[in-house]
Subunit: 134 residues, 2 copies
DNA sequence: CTGCATCCTTAATGATACTG
DNA sequence: CAGTATCATTAAGGATGCAG
């Protein structure tokens, strides 16, 4: 007979599932896109190369920490390239790689979907919220 | 002369930007997709209607709380429909709406991108990590 | 200018137990 | 079966100060 509790079983299942999700490329990508700043950085860079501080200004309200963190993650994934010009003061340019540009295209698809269907979503929300209030 | 500190200015900028982002359909959509469970629920439902507990089993390791929360959010956005059959015991079916199906299609596009380019990303990561170690 | 290390606060997540 | 309410935990985000 099983002496495992529901909690134990779920925990085990979760562990397995987490492992699976970590391996799943789709989910890794979604994780990236989900990052609040990634889409903004990619969008900003899609218009051309930019310096670190330019990105900081363009993406208002980002802290240096998050900007660096985001750029590092994108660089690691081969989505942006980082070019250091050892002048004084130092100058660092970031640019989308071809792979990054391809991701930007995907982001455009997401954007198109959002703009195409947003009105439906908004209407659905209104309906839902009114029913709840009634 | 400006007596505002960098922090104050950034805070203001962030407030404005946050307001803008909340209005931005694309970002709202990305927020949805970013939700860990949304993609899983949509994927599960894309194969057909499912009952609450079926979803719970299919998506291993999800707690009732998160499952309900996710379903409510999707329902509010008009992406899934909720059908209660007042039998004993009660039976509740969830199903993708046409709008939800269209979102599932978008998710497929994301999945395709991920599968197409994942090898490149993996290679980039390896390169990056090795350089760091060297 | 660019970026890293640190600390701190908040918000999301998950476990649990109970109700219609 | 389907879902809600509560509580504990943790992980992400952000501010700050300093260094190369």
């Amino acid at each position: 007979m099983a002496t495992t509790t529901a909690a134990q079983r779920r925990e085990q299942a979760r562990a397995d599932y987490d492992a699976f999700l970590r391996e799943c490329p789709t989910n890794q990508l979604l994780g990236r896109l989900s990052d609040k700043w990634v889409s903004l950085v990619v969008a900003a860079l899609s218009t051309g190369p930019m310096r670190y501080s330019d990105l900081g200004r363009r993406i208002a309200g980002v802290s240096p920490k998050m900007l660096t963190q985001t750029l590092r993650a994108l660089e690691r994934d081969g989505l942006v390239s980082r070019t250091v010009t050892p002048s004084v003061p130092v100058r660092v340019d970031y640019e989308l790689t071809p792979l990054g540009a391809s991701l930007a295209a995907l982001l455009t698809a997401v954007k198109d979907w959002a703009e195409t269907h947003f009105e439906e979503v908004r209407a659905a929300r209104e309906r839902y919220d009114e029913e709840g209030a009634a």
